[in-house]
Amino acid sequence: MSDKRYILSFILIMLLAVSISGCSQAQTGSEGTQSAEAATLDESNALISETSEATVESVVDSPEAVDEVTSTDVPAENQSADALPVETDPNYCLECHIDQERLMAVAAKEDAVASENEGEG
């Protein structure tokens, strides 16, 4: 995770440097050079975009990554809102518990032990 960030930062710095250099060259003027730089910039943007998507996917797949993102990457002022790891459904349990057929299929058979008490209740 840290390596990826360093790579991304390095690419961005390099692009910035190239961009500044391009600007100064443009002032002295070569259209061909501008086209080549634009192509480089597009590739770099695509690389950043791909890297970002990959990062998001890896975050979703990995609980540790979620912790890392929430603990280090999110600005402090937004941390409480973004720290919720998973959206909880207050009625999640009802999905099973209102479904009679499903309950009949999975309810523990061992629960149905006949009482041996005599004169019960």
Binding site: V86, T88, D89, P90, N91, Y92, C93, L94, C96, H97, I98, Q100, L103, M104, V106, A107, A108, K109, D111, A112, V113, S115, E116, N117, E118, G119, E120, G121
Partner: protein, 392 residues
């Protein structure tokens, strides 16, 4: 009562419950668990009966009720401990406590066992699809536990014996007499009604027949109590006979309860030697300001010297400290009974009094204070007038 099927116990009413007040609370807030499609994972650390910790799970919204719960006999089972302590010695208490935990503790009723599910004693299970009910169900809550005597008598399940008139004619349910305050252990104080020198704090009862008699017949039948209803019986006996002496019919007595752990299932179990119908008048063993009667109905209770024999010999060392025939209030009230037909239905009739010959010899010592030594003389013997014994 027959236990519910396992699936039936946990089926929630998907149409009604989510819109109810308790349906606004997330399941996990009370029952713990984890949101997972796998059953075992979902039930991790599941709390099936949250109100066992009523302070945590009920107290936030119902603080006034939870505050008095500890005084409720349904919650603290103090009645059991009162008699067990009296019949035993402290050295035997650890063994009795083990037996109590295995066999008696299931009578403890939590908030939920009256208001949302059947009691654990009968296997539990949601009653109305998890919709909480302010008033417990008579048959699925009250008589689920109090069924073999009270339920059968009140609902008229004994062959040839009528149901209680309050049910038969009035369709009254348990909660009509045994109201919220009693159930929740809120027994009130003298000063709630009296501002004079009577002011005192009423200690919580340690037995069902301890303290203020509530409910009591006189609450509704006041004219009977003061003897101004023109009834000769009421004029003569209003204060010295428990109402049930004249207005009850045969009721259940039991013998020889024994407890043990099943070899088959490993579950606690109990069995009684016998149960049978009785109707016997004894001397009042609980005579007090609240129960002033000279004569009351008595029943044989199932306790036995060896009730806890499975857990050790002689655990009830002081067995004879309490009687085995006990003050009782049968729930089979009738306006007209054999006793109300004539004065001599009781006077001079030894069959309906607890006399020495009706007590097991080995229980005589324990029951001396209840045994009727002299049967009230017949009206003819007292007056010499055969016409005197007429229906009032």
């Amino acid at each position: 009562m027959a236990p519910l099927e396992p699936w039936e116990k946990v089926l929630i009413d998907g149409e009604v419950y989510p819109d109810s007040v308790h349906g606004q609370i997330a399941c996990e807030d009370c029952h713990n668990g984890v949101q997972s499609p796998d059953k075992d994972t979902a039930h991790t650390n599941l709390i099936s009966n949250p109100s066992q910790d009523s302070q945590t799970y009920c107290g936030e919204c119902h603080p006034d009720i939870v505050a008095t719960e500890a005084h409720s006999l349904h919650s603290n089972l103090a009645g059991y401990w009162t008699v067990l302590d009296e019949r035993s010695i402290p050295a035997d208490h650890p063994a009795i406590e083990e037996a109590f935990a295995n066999h008696c503790d299931s009578c403890h009723a939590t908030c939920g066992e009256c208001h949302v599910s059947q009691p654990n004693l009968v296997g539990g299970g949601l009653i109305s699809g998890h919709v909480f009910q302010k008033t417990p169900s008579m048959t699925r809550n009250c008589t689920a536990c109090h069924g073999s005597r009270v339920g059968n008598e009140y609902l008229g399940k004994h062959e040839d014996l009528n149901a209680d008139v309050h049910f038969r004619r009035g369709r009254m349910t348990c909660i009509d007499c045994h109201q919220e305050a009693e159930m929740h252990g809120d027994y009130g104080n003298c000063e709630d009604c009296h501002a004079g020198p009577e002011m005192a704090t009423i200690a919580p009862p340690d037995h069902r027949y301890d303290g203020v008699q509530s409910p009591r017949c006189e609450t509704c039948h006041m004219n009977v109590t003061v003897g101004n209803d023109g009834n000769l019986f009421h004029e003569n006996h209003g204060g010295n006979l428990q109402c049930q002496v004249c207005h009850s019919i045969a009721y259940t007595s039991c013998d020889g309860c024994h407890v043990s752990i099943s070899d088959t299932t490993g579950n606690p179990k109990f069995a009684t030697d016998s149960s049978y119908l009785t109707f016997l008048i004894g001397k009042n063993p609980r005579q007090s300001y609240d129960r002033p009667y000279d004569y009351v109905l008595v029943r044989h209770i199932p306790v036995d010297e060896n009730t806890f024999g499975y857990y050790g010999e002689g655990l009830l060392d002081n067995f004879s400290n309490l009687p085995t025939w006990a003050y009782t209030t049968p729930h089979n009230i009738q306006l007209n009974t054999p006793q109300t037909e004539t004065c001599d239905a009781c006077h001079g009739n030894p069959d309906i009094f607890l006399t020495e010959d009706k007590v097991y010899p080995y229980e005589l010592e324990a029951n001396l204070e209840l045994i009727v030594d002299a049967i009230p003389a017949s009206i003819f013997d007292m007056t010499g007038d055969a016409q005197a014994d007429t229906t009032p």
